[in-house]
């Protein structure tokens, strides 16, 4: 449940960012789709919370209109249940969440990641000798992000961890992006400034 809440949180933040930025006529289609998705998400949460499908099956399951739909509804309900208790997509029910977290990564995987990181460093330094102009920063950051992902997923176990920790970590970057983007929007939209602020 808290995962859903967290995802919903980011979603709301995304909409709040997109509406003013895109709402200036650039991409109304995106906004409309996001709004629809938000409504559907909220509807979904209502179904999950209030067990609307269960009540529907229980109270009205005999009516001629609902009865043919009951098997399909039960299917939907069990899918929802499995999402809620985290077993969605998992074939083996024995694999408990906690055993999953104690999953031990073999040394060979660690060594492989080390190799990739060393390679990545060599690439970074090598590529830096060539001047791509304004793309320099982007390429460097891209390689850094790939290296960082390997550290995160394997050395820090995020690949085998529960989703909440991934969401927690991702949120940090997301909010950093907000800080950066809004500050840079201010700076690049200032009128040609006074002493010191030279535009390139």
């Amino acid at each position: 449940m808290e995962e859903f809440v967290n995802y919903a949180l980011y979603f709301i933040a995304c909409v709040c960012v997109c509406v003013p930025l895109f709402g200036l006529g650039l991409a109304p289609g995106i906004i409309v789709n996001l709004e629809i998705a938000a409504i559907l998400g909220s509807f979904y949460s209502q179904i999950v919370e209030k067990g609307l499908i269960k009540t529907l099956i229980k109270d009205k399951g005999d009516s001629p209109l609902i009865r043919p739909m009951v098997p399909a509804l039960e299917n939907v309900q069990s899918t929802i249940d499995s999402i809620e208790n985290g077993t969605f997509g998992k074939k083996e029910e024995k694999e408990s969440q906690e055993e999953h977290e104690h999953h031990i990564i073999p040394i060979s995987v660690y060594a492989g990641v080390l190799g990739i990181l060393i390679l990545g460093t060599i690439i970074t330094v090598g590529v830096a000798q060539i001047d791509f102009g304004p793309w320099n920063t982007v390429i460097a950051m891209l390689v850094a992000t790939i290296k960082a992902s390997f550290v995160l997923l394997y050395f820090m176990h995020l690949k085998y961890d529960n989703a909440m920790n991934r969401v927690i970590f991702g949120s940090g970057f997301f909010f950093l992006l907000i800080l950066f983007s809004f500050s840079i929007i201010d700076i690049i939209t200032r009128v040609k400034p006074l002493l010191g602020f030279t535009k390139f």
Binding site: E2, Y10, I12, A13, C16, P20, D186, T189, R190, F197
Partner: protein, 530 residues
């Protein structure tokens, strides 16, 4: 550890002796420790406020202090109230005490970290006060550059104190998030936790995400002052507005750290004193998260006239309008809760109703300030001062006091005299309006804020405002008296003197040191009044 075990199992008597308190890892005791020190800081900040209002009683010098001293008073009033009282207040006191009990848990997720946060908080307060030994700070609690770079070294201590208290805030928030995720009682899904927990959870998320940026901003300010780095100093080519961007990236979400837990308290009070389940539980719960989320993208509304671009100003102004929506949802749902409820006007309920009224005024005037064009006129006037005092004092402090009287029996096992508490409410509510409503008018008339002196035409309203401040002071003294009298002479409280339905009312008053003898199993929502 020098302590003696007694027969009593409640947390107050489980172990005795000062050392047992200073080394406790019981969240309830830590909450009480926060209560004592925060009330003390509130007293100091309040005295500074009274001094400020005294000085502003008449045009020209009133108290015989010079402008520099006035500016220091003003800065410390702000810094103390923000960093030592309102930001930590409700989460560290009521959050610490109540969240594990409301969740049916035995403690927070990281009890030792909890104690460590208290010590970090105290260290920060000491560092902040040490600034007074080095000339203090007169920059205002917002430390705007470049003035704060030029000022003497007292600023560094206040800034480092704020940094340290920010660390305590982060650790508290972290503790609460994991507690809410992991330590709920069997059967207690997220949709069965009390609304106070929902709002404190949203607050904790903001604390964890926003405070680090304040941390780095303050560190950079210290580097700027000590090394002359040049990042915020316009004479070398730095951007002072960038400081404001970084500062307000934290400080705007911070004001929601201040107000969200207060709204959580109001949800609890309204439910109990209307004897009715909260209308729109889901909406209120998600609106807490929505307020938290939106709070991160509106910070530029503090900077409309700072030199940020017009485009950025428009963008922030539009987005800020959004934040009123979830807030209004809460308010309407509270009113709907009260409708057809069986209302009891005990003191906590008076504080809750007072909150709803005063916060509405504060919130609506916030929308006026969010409107770019109007803010050009209102910025840095007393209109802004009135606005934030309405939401912080009329809002958060009202909720705080109401919550204190409400949970007092639970925390201490005794009942406060309701009549005394109501008198304190009358004084606080009246005094508050007398103090701050004229300030809206003063601001609209153009009186600037943070000024030691003012033009003669503003004098009469200022005098009314000062008299109001005395009423507020009296009101809080009466409240303090009610609390102390309750502690010493109050009659013993039953487990559930108000008829609440959340889990803390199942525990004894005061609670067992492990909260519950047997872990409760939850099968219904938190406000089942039937």
């Amino acid at each position: 550890m020098a302590h003696t075990e007694t027969h009593s199992h409640d947390y107050l008597n489980h172990q005795k002796g000062l050392w047992s308190w200073l080394t406790t890892i019981d969240h309830k005791r830590i909450g009480i420790m926060y209560l004592i020190v925060i009330l003390f800081f509130f007293l100091i900040g309040g005295i500074f406020a009274l001094l400020i209002r005294m000085e502003l009683f008449s045009a020209g010098p009133t108290l015989g202090i010079d402008p520099g001293t006035y500016n220091r008073l003003m800065t410390f009033h702000g810094a103390i109230m923000v960093f030592m009282v309102i930001v930590p207040g409700i989460p560290s006191i009521f959050g610490n005490f109540l969240i594990p009990i409301m969740l049916g848990a035995k403690d927070v997720a990281f009890p030792r970290l909890n104690l460590f946060s208290w010590y970090v908080f105290m260290l920060g307060a000491i560092i902040a006060f040490a600034s007074l030994l080095f000339g203090g700070a007169d920059t205002g609690w917002t430390f705007y550059t470049p003035y704060s770079i030029r000022q003497p070294n007292g600023v560094i201590f206040l800034v480092l104190g704020a940094f340290t208290m920010g660390m305590a805030s982060i650790l508290t928030g972290l503790n609460f998030i994991v507690t809410v995720h992991k330590l709920r009682a069997p059967g207690q899904t997220m949709s069965r936790i009390p609304l106070f927990v929902w709002s404190t959870y949203a607050t904790a998320i903001i604390q964890v995400l926003a405070t680090p940026v304040l941390g780095i901003t303050l560190l950079l300010l210290v580097a700027e002052k000590t090394l002359g780095v040049g990042i915020f100093d316009p004479t070398i080519g730095g951007d002072p507005v960038l400081f404001q961007h970084f500062f307000w990236f934290y400080s705007h979400p911070a004001v929601y750290i201040m107000v969200l837990p207060a709204m959580g308290i109001i949800s609890e009070l309204i439910a109990t004193y209307s004897r009715k389940t909260v209308f729109g539980y889901t909406a209120i719960a998600y609106s807490s998260l929505a307020i938290g989320a939106v709070s991160f993208i509106v910070w530029g509304h503090h900077m409309f006239v700072s030199g940020q671009s017009e485009f950025a100003g428009i963008m922030f102004s539009v987005i800020t309008m959004l934040v009123g929506v979830p807030t209004a949802i809460k308010l309407f749902n509270w009113i709907a809760t009260m409708y057809m409820g069986s209302i009891k006007l005990d003191a906590p309920m008076l504080f809750a109703i007072g909150f709803m009224f005063l916060f509405t005024i504060g919130g609506l005037t916030g929308v006026w300030l969010a409107t770019l064009g109007m803010d050009v006129h209102f910025h840095d006037t007393y209109f802004v001062v009135a606005h934030f005092h309405y939401v912080m004092v009329g809002g958060t402090l009202m909720a705080f006091t109401g919550g204190l009287f409400y949970w007092f029996p639970k925390m201490f096992g005794r009942v406060c005299n309701d009549g005394t508490a109501r008198i304190s409410w009358v004084l606080i509510f009246t005094g508050f309006n007398v103090t701050f409503f004229p300030q809206f008018i003063l601001g609209a008339m153009g009186m600037p804020r943070r000024y030691f002196d003012y033009l003669p035409q503003y004098e009469s309203l200022n005098q009314i405002s000062t008299v109001g401040s005395w009423l507020i002071g009296a009101g809080f003294l009466v409240a303090l008296f009610a609390v102390i009298h309750g502690l010493l002479r109050g009659e013993k409280a039953s487990n559930n003197p108000w008829g609440g339905t959340t889990l803390e009312w199942l525990a004894t008053s005061p609670p067992h040191h492990e909260n519950f003898e047997k872990t409760p199993i939850v099968s219904v929502g938190p406000y089942e009044y039937r």
